[in-house]
Subunit: 285 residues, 2 copies
């Protein structure tokens, strides 16, 4: 018997992966959670049937989510916040910065953390034994609205804007994040696929400016198991910086451990393809 998992990225296009077996399958209070062992991409985490991450290409996504924002602007010395990201990949990348005072992970679903710790040790490794890390199991919108902490960097590592995560793409939520950021703070939002979701990218841009951010810069990179194999992130600056020059904030010994990101990718990663640039040309549309 051959088991194939097919994710339709649209009703008429998708990827298909041969699977060895299902290692975990259960419904939490929030969502359906599965861990499947694939032939080519290692173990794969699915939420509500959609690919969240695979062992083989998680570094493409997690390193690009975290490192560009950590290496523009001044050395982040205070707190960093990850909203979502219960698999621990974003926290693992943040743990590479000894200059950070603390890392807060705000994940709505405890079962995502439990399952990742059990089945995805390479991704979740920084979630245990990390004195600087605080894990809070709460709705992200609620948390940023209530906390009195101020963060140097906020990373929104959410699932797609359908169901539970929809609110994480609104001006109301971004506005709370804006308030929770320190003066020169930077926020990064995973902003979907330029191939299929240009209209979502436009909405994100509009909502970030509505929330008060001075400048929004999109950047892109390949993520083979995500829709179109091509992903984007929005980097929002509280105070505008004229230049997005790469700072050497990542310690040299950590650079060698990265699989995807290199400091030399800054500022080139911010250069958008013509069709994306045209779609995002206006602040308001």
């Amino acid at each position: 018997m051959e088991l194939w998992f097919t994710e339709k990225h649209t009703p008429a296009a998708g990827i298909t992966l041969k699977c060895k077996k299902t290692l975990f399958s259960s419904r939490s209070e929030i969502q359906q959670i599965d861990i499947v062992e694939t032939e080519d991409f290692g173990r794969m985490l699915l939420l509500d049937g959609l690919v969240m991450t695979t062992e083989r290409d998680e570094s493409f996504y997690h390193e690009m989510l975290v490192h560009p924002a950590m290496n523009v602007g001044s050395m982040p010395q205070g707190q960093a916040l990850v909203i979502g990201g219960g698999d621990g990949g974003a926290v693992r990348e943040l743990a590479r910065y000894p200059s950070l005072e603390g890392i807060v992970l705000c994940e709505i679903d405890p079962m995502v953390v439990e399952v990742s710790q059990r089945y995805l040790p390479g991704i979740s490794c920084a979630l245990s034994g990390n004195e600087k890390l605080e894990i809070i199991y709460k709705d992200g919108v609620e948390y940023v609205g209530q906390t009195s902490q101020r963060f140097d960097r906020i990373f929104v590592d959410s699932s797609d804007p359908i169901g539970a995560a929809e609110v994480l793409f609104t001006a109301g939520f971004y506005s709370r994040c804006y308030s929770a950021l320190s003066e020169n703070g930077i926020m990064v939002v995973q902003s979907e696929s330029p191939v299929y979701h240009l209209s979502i990218m436009k909405q994100i841009k509009k909502a970030l400016y509505q929330a008060g951010f001075s400048r929004v810069l999109f950047y892109t990179g390949p993520v083979p198991t995500y829709p179109g194999g091509y992903w984007s992130w929005a980097l929002a600056l509280k105070e505008d910086m004229k230049e997005t020059m790469a700072q050497q904030n990542l310690p040299p010994e950590q650079k060698q451990k990265l699989n995807f990101f290199t400091l030399e990718m800054i500022p080139g990663c911010f250069v958008l393809p013509a069709f994306v640039k045209r779609a995002l040309v206006s602040r308001q549309t």
Copy 2:
């Protein structure tokens, strides 16, 4: 009835596209040729059952194949040669440079050109009514070995290194191309997917240096319907240039017609992900 086309990029991973109908299906002397109308990607050209190009994402590939090499180094004023590329996409991009004296397309299979002219007018548009273009139906290896012409740029727009196209990835072929290039000539070879074909990229690098090229620079970009959604090209320089600075060789009115490439992508596109850089670190391996 639902028709789905599935291409396995490995025995255990692939993409799947919903199709409306098959518009053309025939065997030429060289290969099986199909044109299929997909729901999401427009018309799609398949050779021996593998996706060569689709209307929706062909610009991602063709623009990245042609424009980086046309905008580094001095203004190309002589001849350009495309080997393979019977769909016409590379020729269409080259036709944007009025400075070029002539374009030669060397395609082994006349049926690819015929079928592209009939079913893919947006891609093949520059194949007819183009006074500067000469189409030669011949094996590329044979042609570059015999021609007395010298080219400023050579583009190897081949299919995968299996069967007929295998020879287009060898030092013997590259060496003939080297001889057919003018003094400051540049060659570009499509060099497969960094996700699945790192070993092919290594072989290409080794073979290009063996053929006498002074410097080989790989660059990458997204191509949603290609393996891993992520593709690479090798740019080989006959004479080394210290800097790959973007030249403004592409006329401004043509810039606006591009869907993917922008001049600002140079030199950022040459910055490789860490795992690719490490794999290609040595000249010889």
